[in-house]
């Protein structure tokens, strides 16, 4: 970067110069220096441009308070000047609000489940309950306003804080100050405010307290209803609720309440002052001196208490309140922790009618095992993307661990080219299956019970000379960020490579976008190389990212220049589309799909990394039935655009769905690796209205299943698994001899083919399986590690590395060598993460695993004997208690 040559001192002087802080000789000297230095000049314009941006786009500010807020201040001022003195602010002291909330939460919990408190944090809860009772005063509803508006204000203010509403707090502040001083009835302003708030809050599901009631689902609907009652704002006027609110504040009745509150505030300020003195605040570290206003308040408070004769009773009340506040703060933390615990426990309980696999997915985000006795069909849409792998590779090579959510196992598997046989006899697809023991999973060393089934589907090749002509509309991101790391240069390089593959029957158009979309090149025959090169050459970066505008103009061009009989396709190239907003994203994807139905497809190619929004790029490509690639360098550009040209730009089939049927007798359970967001409901396999992925010429797709067999009988003549592929012909021209014999297939008529696999075809050893099979299996395992998949728990990264190194040696395969290098790069960072012993996580995992096992057992084997239930309940209690202890531990508290 150019300004690296400018040292700090120069930079400071440059700033001072620009802001007119340099004078006389200094100024002249620097002006000379500036005139002689291009670096300084460049930095000057950068500073000026930044300032312009900040001035133009600084956060939007209202120039004045809203009329309501201003009026509130004036009202407060009126009250304040009427009653000088420090009382005003104290009722609003946060600890009182906290206390009110605590009491409510406490009573809610108590009403919900008495038992919980008996065997949990008994001491505190129990004692607190008595205090509350002893302080209770039964108050007729009508007297609420006259007796304790403070409590109501606090409670409502607290609710507001929870809801994120803080406006309006001010007005009652003044009103209460007023009322307290006069010791009489509340002012009209306060009354109005209550009314407004009641109206505003009624019916709003509010605050965590209400949320906590759901934790008790299943422990009696009555309890839940009561929780709602206690906490509902409607019922604030309910006698029970009222008692609670008063219980907290009862130490100081109406008119006197400000004294203990002030006392508490004084104590707090004195404590803060001491802390500053000792410099030992562990939360904030180095402390600033007490703010002036706090000092002032402290002075006033001291003065106040010196002048006011404090009765013994009042002093006692103050002390009690301070004590109480401390207990309540402790309690509140305990309740938070308890709530956290109950949320986890609640989430561990199966949902009504939930299948074990669904529960598994809910727990860990990975596909769980399915059981053929209940569901022997696995149906999914084909996915030929590889972006997840290339992006992860880039991260690893730059020394970072890729994000978990970025890893899609199926794309790792797809990247490793499998060695599937090509279809024969004019078929569009060939299906290949292979089964071998998994080197990972339980007891793998001892031969293992887990096997991997690879289902491979390979599309027919289309010779470059026989392919359809293409009409490609490139939509290229030229925003400022594309200048980083030579991204635009890489785009140009990629496009030149691509154009090199095309011939004069093909045509391309070029759209660029930054803030605006520009049509740089109308649809032009590739024969006109000079025009294309000129357009490529002139692309320059700068400005923002209006991806939506670019895409829309791209489609406009693609539609206007639509070439019948050609493969019409939009190709979107960007380093990330920034924030389009959920709604606009969905609209855009809908439009992409609509265009696809008219035969205009969409490919997306990601460049660079920092802003790479690959999820959206993937969704776009899915909507446009095209590929999503990620290009991180010249090699990848070659692979994605040249080597795989027909795969990327020559569609051979669309709406390609795959269904694997497992034999109920031979297969106990199976799980699919990856394809989490590609699942299709089994019943929709033959529903041709449900769309699915598209396949380009020569593409190979692999799906892996981990299976557990019941018993292995080589003579069994029933297929272990059968794979069916269902697809439609692409839009536009039809290609193969076989298909032209069939005349024109109707655009929406689907074809289905199938192939079966028998036990006697299985390999006995992983190392005895084909190289392609091993590659697929090991890529998948790497992805599972990077996903921190629950299935990879306990697997050894070193074993994976060893297997890959061995395979690299025996096969000499470049992809395996690369994979092996990547595992080596990942290991130092990944391994500690995989091994990290987070007690809390593990306790939660154990409980989840247990609940999953229980559900699976009853799901597979039906009702269990009485004894089983007793044992499991005991284990469940143990696991929950363990979790509870860990949660308290993690929060720095003792569960007892």
């Amino acid at each position: 970067m150019q300004n690296d040559k400018i040292n700090n001192e120069q930079h400071e002087r440059l700033c001072a110069f620009l802001f007119g802080e340099l004078e006389g000789a200094d100024r002249a000297a620097f002006a000379k220096e500036l005139a002689a230095s291009p670096e300084l000049q460049a930095e000057q314009s950068r500073i000026e441009a930044s300032i312009e941006l900040v001035k133009e786009f600084a956060p939007v500010t209202p120039v004045a308070l809203s009329p309501g807020a201003r009026a509130g201040l004036v009202v407060a001022a009126e009250k304040a000047v009427g009653t000088p003195g420090p009382k005003l602010a104290w009722y609003r002291h946060p600890s009182l609000q906290v206390a009110a909330a605590t009491m409510l939460a406490f009573v809610a919990f108590r009403a919900l489940d008495e038992r919980m408190f008996e065997n949990s944090a008994t001491g505190d809860f129990g004692r607190r309950g008595e205090v509350a009772k002893s302080n209770r005063k039964s108050v007729p509803k009508d007297d609420l306003a006259t007796l304790a508006p403070e409590a109501r204000v606090d409670y409502l203010a607290d609710l507001d804080t929870e809801k994120g509403v803080t406006t309006g707090v001010l007005a009652p502040g003044a009103a209460v100050g007023d009322r307290v001083a006069e010791g009489g009835t509340p002012s009209a302003a306060a009354e109005d405010w209550y009314l407004q708030h009641d109206r505003g809050a009624t019916g709003t599901p509010h605050s965590p307290q209400a949320g906590s009631s759901t934790l008790f689902l299943g422990k009696g609907g009555d309890a839940q209803a009561r929780a709602g009652d206690v906490l509902g704002v409607d019922n604030l006027f309910d006698d029970d609720a009222l008692d609670v609110t008063l219980g907290m504040i009862a130490v100081g009745e109406s008119g006197a309440v400000d004294v203990p509150a002030a006392r508490a505030r004084l104590l707090e300020l004195e404590k803060a002052e001491k802390e500053v003195e000792l410099g030992n605040n562990w939360v904030l570290g180095q402390l600033d001196p007490l703010p002036d206003e706090d000092k002032a308040e402290l002075g006033l408070l001291r003065g106040y208490f010196e002048n006011v004769e404090v009765s013994a009773e009042q002093a006692e009340q103050g002390r009690l309140l301070a004590e109480q506040l401390e207990v309540e703060a402790e309690l509140r933390r305990a309740i938070e922790v308890e709530r956290e615990f109950l949320t986890i426990v609640q989430n561990c309980i199966p949902k009504p009618g939930e299948k074990p696999s669904a529960m598994y997915y809910r727990y860990w985000g990975d596909n769980g095992y399915e059981f053929p006795v209940n569901d022997n069909l696995s149906t999914f849409s084909i996915d030929v993307d590889t972006a997840s792998y290339t992006l992860a590779r880039r991260y690893l090579q730059e020394g970072y661990l890729p994000e978990r959510a970025q890893i899609r196992t199926e794309e790792f598997v797809n990247y490793a080219t499998p060695d599937l046989p090509a279809p024969t006899g004019g078929d569009v697809f060939g299906i290949t299956m292979e089964l071998a023991p998994s080197p990972f999973g339980p007891n793998a060393e001892a031969g293992g019970e887990h096997r991997l089934l690879r289902v491979g589907v390979r599309g027919m090749e289309v010779d470059m000379t026989e392919r359809d002509p293409v009409a490609l509309t490139f939509v290229v991101d030229v925003s400022g960020s594309m200048a980083t790391g030579g991204r635009l240069e890489l785009v140009k390089h990629s496009l030149r490579l691509l154009v090199g593959e095309l011939d004069p029957a093909d045509s391309i158009a070029l759209i660029t976008f930054n803030n605006t979309a520009t049509r740089v090149l109308d649809m032009t025959s590739v024969g006109n190389g000079a025009a294309i090169e000129r357009a490529l050459y002139e692309m320059k970066t700068g400005g923002g990212t209006n991806a939506e505008g670019g895409l829309r103009l791209g489609y406009e061009e693609a539609v206007l220049a639509h070439t019948p009989g050609a493969q019409n396709r939009v190709v979107f190239l960007s380093d990330g589309v920034g924030n389009i907003g959920e709604t606009n994203e969905q609209k855009l994807i809908a439009d992409v799909k609509r265009a696809r139905d008219k035969g205009i497809y969409l490919n997306t190619i990601g460049f660079g990394m920092t802003n790479h929004n690959d999820h959206f790029l993937e969704q776009l490509a899915d909507g446009g039935d095209g590929l999503c690639n990620y290009v991180d360098g010249a090699d990848e550009a070659q692979r994605a655009l040249v080597d795989n040209f027909t795969g990327a730009f020559q569609t051979i089939a669309r709406d390609v769905k795959i269904q694997v049927e497992f034999d109920k007798e031979q297969v106990l359970s199976y799980r699919q690796l990856g394809y989490e967001n590609r699942a299709i409901a089994d019943v929709n396999f033959r529903n041709d209205a449900v769309d699915a992925g598209e396949v380009g010429a020569g593409q190979q797709v692999v799906a892996l299943y981990e299976v557990v067999l019941r018993d292995a009988d080589p003579s069994n003549e029933t297929p272990l698994a059968t794979t069916r592929v269902r697809y439609k012909a692409p839009h536009g021209k039809l290609l193969t001899a076989a298909e032209s014999d069939d005349k024109q297939l109707g655009a929406n008529e689907a074809t289905e083919i199938e192939s079966s696999f028998y036990w006697n075809q299985a390999s006995g050893l992983f190392d005895g399986s084909s190289i392609g099979f091993q590659k697929s299996a090991l890529s998948a395992q790497f992805a599972e590690f990077l996903r921190r998949s629950s299935h990879a728990k306990g697997d050894s990264l070193s074993l994976l590395r060893y297997k890959l190194e061995e395979l690299a040696r025996t096969s000499g395969d470049a992809e395996v060598i690369e994979l092996s290098a990547l595992v080596q790069l990942a290991q130092p960072q990944l391994e500690p993460e995989l091994l990290a012993q987070n007690n809390l996580r593990r306790a939660a995992d154990d409980l989840q695993q247990f609940e999953y096992d229980c559900l699976r057992t009853s799901y597979l084997d039906g009702d269990q004997p009485e004894g089983w239930l007793v044992t499991t309940n005991a284990t469940r209690e143990q696991l929950r208690e363990k979790l509870r202890i860990e949660i308290y531990e993690a929060n720095g508290m003792d569960a007892r």
């Binding site: 941006l53 002036d292 209006n546």
Partner: protein, 209 residues
């Protein structure tokens, strides 16, 4: 005619004239609001924070210099309000980082406003806000005073209680970081996509295929 100075307004307020306080609010609210918005990144708490600030002024007004003219009073009060506003904002930010996750959950649900035309403006605004937010608090504060409140280094030093040299350093460091951060956006100006509504929609075009 002679304008009532801040000192006199405060005295009037103490003497029972609530409207004098209103006038003080009118005089100083804009700069307080601007500072709060800048420090808080344009969030909803801005107005509440400023209400708190004026409440503090009401309860514990500072002692303004006697007999040094309206300008000195005004500057002293502005400096006091600046400090109180800054502290109040820091309190908001601190308590916010504590309940950060809650905020995040809300923020992620916010959709970007507007259609195509506002996308780049909104993009840029949020990029600028993000870059500002990434700066340390002290840099953000001095940059605000220099860039938006147009204060000299010396004035900034007085308001923040820092040395003028420190202020210069903070401004330079902050601008450097900002420039690097905003680099991709620089030179974009404020142009907007042209045309748009006059064009046929994609759907209409597709109809003709």
């Amino acid at each position: 005619m002679e304008e009532t100075n801040d000192q006199q307004l405060l005295a009037a307020f103490r003497g029972g004239d609530a409207h004098a306080f209103g006038q003080l609010v009118d005089r100083h609210q804009a700069s307080c609001l601007k500072l709060a918005a800048f420090l808080l990144g344009g969030r909803a708490e801005v107005e509440d924070t400023i209400q708190e600030v004026f409440l503090k002024l009401m309860q514990k007004p500072p002692n303004l210099p006697d007999g040094q003219g309206p300008e000195a009073c005004r500057a002293a009060l502005a400096a006091w309000l600046h400090r109180v506003t800054r502290n109040a904002c820091m309190d908001v930010l601190r308590s916010e980082s504590r309940r950060n996750h809650r905020e995040k959950a809300v923020a992620s649900r916010e959709a970007a406003p507007g259609g195509q035309n506002s996308v780049d403006a909104a993009d840029t605004r949020s990029a600028v806000e993000r870059s500002l937010k990434r700066l340390p608090e002290d840099q953000r504060e001095v940059l605000f005073l220099r860039l938006l409140a147009d204060r000299s280094y010396r004035e900034i030093a007085e308001m923040t209680g820092k040395k003028a040299g420190t202020v210069g350093w903070l401004i330079s460091t902050g601008l450097r970081a900002l420039g690097e951060d905003l680099e991709p956006l620089l030179g974009m100006g404020t142009s907007r996509p042209k045309g748009g509504s006059a064009r046929p929609t994609l759907q209409a075009l597709l109809q003709n295929l």
